[in-house]
Symmetry: C2
Subunit: 647 residues, 2 copies
Amino acid sequence: MTDGVPDVDLDAVRREGLLPARGAEATQHDGTGRVSLSFTVLDPDPARTVQRQVRVPPGVTVFDSASWNGIAIDSTCGGHGTCHKCKVRVEGGAPITRHDVKTFSREQLDDGWRLACLVNATRDLAVDVPPLTTRPKAATVGVGRQVILRPAIQKRYVELDEPTLADQRTDLARVLDAIDDLEPEPDLHVLRRLPSVLRKADFKVTAVIVDEALLDVEPGDTTGTQYAIAFDLGTTTVVATLLDVTTGTPVAVASMLNQQQPFGGDVITRISATMLDPDTLGRLQQASADTLSTLAAQVCEEGGVDPAHVYEVALAGNATMTALALGIEPEPIGVAPFVMAAAHPPVVLATDLGLRLHPRARAAIFPALGAYVGGDIVAGMLATGMDRDKRTRLLIDVGTNCEIVLSDGDRIVSTAAPAGPAFEGGAIRCGMRAADGAIEVVKLGETVELGVIGDVEPRGLCGSGLVDAVAELVKVGLLDGSGRFVPDADAKEVAPALADRLTRIGEERVFVLHRPAPDAEPTDCVVLSQRDVRELQFAKAAISTGWSLLLEELDLEPRDVQQVLMAGSFGSYLSPASAVRIGLVPKLPVLRIVSAGNVAGEGAKMSLLSLRERAGATALTEEVTYVELSDCADFNDRFVEQLAFAD
Amino acid sequence: MTDGVPDVDLDAVRREGLLPARGAEATQHDGTGRVSLSFTVLDPDPARTVQRQVRVPPGVTVFDSASWNGIAIDSTCGGHGTCHKCKVRVEGGAPITRHDVKTFSREQLDDGWRLACLVNATRDLAVDVPPLTTRPKAATVGVGRQVILRPAIQKRYVELDEPTLADQRTDLARVLDAIDDLEPEPDLHVLRRLPSVLRKADFKVTAVIVDEALLDVEPGDTTGTQYAIAFDLGTTTVVATLLDVTTGTPVAVASMLNQQQPFGGDVITRISATMLDPDTLGRLQQASADTLSTLAAQVCEEGGVDPAHVYEVALAGNATMTALALGIEPEPIGVAPFVMAAAHPPVVLATDLGLRLHPRARAAIFPALGAYVGGDIVAGMLATGMDRDKRTRLLIDVGTNCEIVLSDGDRIVSTAAPAGPAFEGGAIRCGMRAADGAIEVVKLGETVELGVIGDVEPRGLCGSGLVDAVAELVKVGLLDGSGRFVPDADAKEVAPALADRLTRIGEERVFVLHRPAPDAEPTDCVVLSQRDVRELQFAKAAISTGWSLLLEELDLEPRDVQQVLMAGSFGSYLSPASAVRIGLVPKLPVLRIVSAGNVAGEGAKMSLLSLRERAGATALTEEVTYVELSDCADFNDRFVEQLAFAD
């Protein structure tokens, strides 16, 4: 307060929505849930000046609005309002903060010049962006998303003046004054050893800042080592990616089964386990910690990185996995009305997740939309740009619990559909996970063509193979629209070459996909049973009920959907044609259906490479409307309608 | 962000200094380092409407300015900008925040109505305060300070609606929505058990908030139990006071010797100890933790309070004690140029101090001004109102290290004087601590009158007795102005009745204060030696050099000082007359010199009873100018000047 004005959390001020100038009030945003900003990105060569129109939720800062849309604005603090570099000209001006006053002349202020990170887009705005003085690094992550590198992790090498009787500034003040474009909060851990660190290093040190926190002060210049780990914490599989945040490049990737498996294959059984025995929560938390630690050790080992140089991790998981990882009681998630303890976990440390990296490494946990639309799908929306793509798009993450998101470019709605274990191979007679020996592709014609993982003898049927098999059987007419195998007589007619594969095991009719030996008994074959078909029907009915409900929410017809993104370890491998044929996705040209891959993991990476993208994830949770399927009055009628296979 | 405007740290906004309306700029504050606010405290009975003029540092909020001066403004959030109750009318208006917009009509805004906690006094202001709708509790602490009770600790009992499919708000949201005049940050610890706490308590719970943090959610109604502990962490003695923050009353008090004693009696020897052996810092931290824990257990035991119901502690100690308590390396404090690791310790938990109270209890550590003007003296300034009293006042905390503060009602300057161990009884031939058998009062006339602690046989001389003895000897003429015992011949002339007590031990002249037996040898008597006098001379010279330098800083004469506050375990017991006579304090009428008692402890209590007072302490560190004595070019000349006894 030496200048007589108290210190201030500029990040909070940045987020504060001040009353627009009177003149502006008339043009308050149109209530579509978005305001539109038109950026004029100036260039020394006028010919190369470009116009960009973007739409963002009201209240987002001009700086974030630009970042989210790949428009770079000068900044060294990354939008914390401390570096005073993100100068833009706002048509009609905006409220003036004292930081604007410090940065601009009265004339410039009158002319509309402001710091972009302190201007909230509470109305439609026209913004001029001056040419960059520095070339910002960018990386491509997510589904073809270009992300401007502004990680939460920042390192600054500084050479400080030694204290004198005339300059008795504290050790901390000395460090902070040297990085005054940032205003991090110190950590007690840093202060404890700061005096000896500074003096042993002759006051030549590197400040380690993560978001708002001064995490450490390291002797000498360590700016070369800045790492973070992105975790995709799946119920079944967990993936870790070690990132060099200075370049945005992945250094190493590792994955393994979630060690909570012994407690149950799906979230419900794991939650139930905690309800039966009070000690189970602790054990599940430990299992999660072991999984994450093992992967962290692996990627550091493989990347040749000292774990102490990993300063932040990001975690994207469903609501249950996230709760268990943090040791939060999950019970209410498991029973109606399906409630989480919290949607936005507080700031936590990597140690809270059981990780041993830098002792004070931070953990950024993805917020959730609902008990069954968790941080993983929010990360997925970020990775697929659901919040900024103007097209009408449908994101489907297929799995035991299937998350569905629909956006028309303005509004975003989402829901969760209980698809059951069919896609994971569970409850399917010859079902198995997508591993060696699993049939993943099925083509029926004069013969049966099988695509088998690992090109080995088929052992069973994985989710994509299941969908293929059913779709093909519907196509050749061995399954009718209701999902019943046709009578043998009809079979011989519609598909003579395949009819003999239609047989029985006990009373149940089955279709033989693979016969290990000419004389093998049906029980020794890889078959698709009538019950299997029913299982898949139920799963696809739940899912299609979900997206059809969402389409109604936004008054859209299936044909209006311009792109369907199939995500998740299962969805990504699914054949679009088959998905359409069984009605898992809307009846659309196959080209509109694309595999999006592991979008949760990509979203987690993005949040580590850009604080602005992370802010985008939080904004998403505020603007997406969650529709509770089980709360929908005519759910059952809709469900039954969807049971039949489209034809 | 449901209303399209992002959440915001309102406390930070509250602290933000926005550009005053153009009209206002002309009347920017006068640069005395203060702005003046004239409050018109309205009353239903116009006759009882009062006018109050106060001066505060620029940038302080109108709400704080009022609180600090005992003017109550309605508020349930205590000035966090969340309850929208602190309505005032600001002459000429002030910048409008969106919270004002939510609270007032356009007409009221035009008329100057604002939320007091969001208006920064960046210029002189006239403010109308409407009559209170609630009667705020107040307590008297410090030196006759009336403190409005607005503790950081707040409890709210709430009865929540149970979740339904139509209301799937998270458990946390359910709690926060019920206390929406506060916006606390949840703690992971709270979330972990929140689901079972809510459900076992049928959603009837008590939210525990400390400052910005949701510390806990307790089953049922626990609003009756809200406790905090104030620690005065002295180098020698440590005092703990258990407070009921709902009433502001002390429940129990306990004190004990600082268990760091074995490592040395003063800060320098303890710092040196850490430099010799790297393990010593850990042991000193543990000794501090043991001391604080023992006292905490004592006061809880005595007050019949469950330690788990103590949610906050405040700690006022000098820079070294504070560093050692937090485990921060103290070395640079001990050697020139005397530098601290940090002046404002970060937010820490009571557990960081080794305390076992509520597991997440917060610790408010008093900030320091300099390596030798620590949090204890800042607490002292708070308790004595150095920052808001309009009189010219001098605060002297006498001890091995003597802190001196001078205020002329606008500016505040401070320094530290190395008085040495004389006052603690160290380096004094018959010196001892103020304990049973210590001579604390000396009167010389025809006979020698002694005041002895505990009314027992005198065993030695404590600080106040030392000062008395020397002052009296100067008065009767047995000591000359230079501090030398007069020749025996002169002695017989000036004080015949006492002359025979002037004798020798070896070569050194001594004055016998108490002779245990008529024939006792001088070596068996309680005496004051020539060297003792020198010790005191050095001490008082250091101190008077300190305050005389501060007087010059503010262009004041000693006679301008309207009040001298003698603080500290020693200063409080000192006889004003003697202090004046030996020149320890300026030559002033004795009535202007008052004993202030344990001001550090009082300040610590105040910070627990009022967040606004705590903000006042932080403001103090920003506005007080620290003068480094050892950096003063002519320190030695000044020192020598001050050696002589005034006469």
